[in-house]
Amino acid sequence: VIRWRRRSLTCQELVELVTDYTEGALPPAERRRFERHVAACAGCATYVEQMAAIPPLVRAAAQPSTGLPPEAELSLLHAFRSWHDERR
C-alpha cells in the first residue's frame, strides 16, 4: 500500500471539521492533522474556541421550560390511575 503524506488542512477545510473533531468523529490521522493546524494558526484557534463557546451560550439564551401546568399533571395522574384500575 502506497501512502502519501497528506498535505496540511487549509483554514477553509478546517472550519467544516470542527464539530467532527469535538464529537470525536475524526480518525486518528485526521485528528492529528486538525490539531497540528490549530496549534499553528491563530485564526483557526480563535474559530475553534468560539465554536466551543456556543453550546453554553445557547443554553443560557434558551427560555426556561417549566413542563406541564399543574392541572395537566393532575389529569394525567387521574388517567394513569383509571388505566391501572381497568387493567386489574
Binding site: T10, Q12, G43, A62
Partner: protein
C-alpha cells in the same frame, strides 16, 4: 470530548416496571422530570406552546399504555422523547399544508467563502483573509451579554427545523449524540452535520453582533 453512549440508566427498567405496576408516584416523578424537555421538543415542531403541551399530555398517555413495550434498548428518556418526536411530527404534518422538515440538505460552506484567500493566492491559499477576532477582548463585556443573548435567541429561532431540534436537544437539554439520533431518527453523520451547521450559524450571528457593537 466524545459523548458517552446512550447507556440505559440502571433505574430505567425499574421505573418502567413501577409504571406497569401502577405506581403513581413513579409516574408523577417521571412526568415532572421529562416534561420540560418534552414540551421544548414538541414546541420545535408546532407553532404554539398550548399545542406543544397537548402533544406532551397525549405522549404520557401513550407512554403508560405502552410501557410494557419498553425493553431497555435505549434509555427510558430517549424512548419517551422518540414517542414525542413522532407524535409532534404527525401533528405538525396535519396542521401544515406543506410537508415540514423537508428543508434542503444544505451542504454549502458554513463560513462565507469571502473570509478566505482564493485557492490560487500566493500566500496561504484558502487561509483566513479575514480571521475571526477573539470575543474576550471586547471591552464592554457586561453590556454585550444581554445583546449576545438576544442575538443567540434570534439565531436559534431562525434555524431550519431539524438543525434547531438537534441543537436544542444537544445544547439546551444536554442529550447525547446517540440519544438525539434515536429520538429524531437520524444517522450519526446526519446528526453531526445538523449540529455543526446550527452551531456555526449561531457563531456567525454572534460574531456579527459583537462586531456591530
Amino acid at each position: 470530548v466524545p459523548d458517552r453512549p446512550d447507556h440505559v440508566r440502571p433505574h430505567d427498567l425499574a421505573t418502567a416496571a413501577a409504571l406497569a405496576a401502577g405506581d403513581e408516584a413513579a409516574f408523577a416523578d417521571l412526568v415532572r422530570e421529562l416534561s420540560p424537555s418534552l414540551v421544548r421538543l414538541a414546541r420545535g415542531y408546532v407553532g404554539s406552546h398550548a399545542v406543544a403541551e397537548e402533544i406532551v399530555q397525549d405522549v404520557w398517555v401513550s407512554v403508560f399504555r405502552g410501557i410494557t413495550g419498553y425493553e431497555g434498548r435505549a434509555s427510558l428518556r430517549t424512548w419517551v422523547h422518540r414517542i414525542c418526536a413522532r407524535a409532534a411530527l404527525r401533528r405538525a404534518t396535519s396542521e401544515r399544508r406543506s410537508i415540514p422538515f423537508a428543508d434542503a440538505f444544505d451542504d454549502g460552506p458554513t463560513v462565507d467563502a469571502s473570509r478566505f484567500a482564493s485557492v490560487d493566492a500566493r500566500d496561504n491559499p484558502r487561509g483566513w483573509s479575514s480571521a475571526p477576532r477573539p470575543w474576550r477582548a471586547q471591552p464592554e463585556d457586561h453590556v454585550l451579554r444581554a445583546e449576545q443573548r438576544a442575538a443567540v435567541s434570534v439565531a436559534v429561532e431562525s434555524l431550519p427545523d431539524r438543525q434547531r431540534l438537534v441543537l436544542v436537544m444537544r445544547d439546551v437539554d444536554g442529550f447525547s449524540a446517540d440519544e438525539v439520533c434515536e429520538a429524531l431518527n437520524l444517522t450519526e453523520g446526519h446528526q453531526r452535520v445538523l449540529l455543526h451547521r446550527a452551531r456555526a450559524h449561531v457563531r456567525t450571528r454572534l460574531e456579527e453582533e459583537v462586531g456591530a457593537s
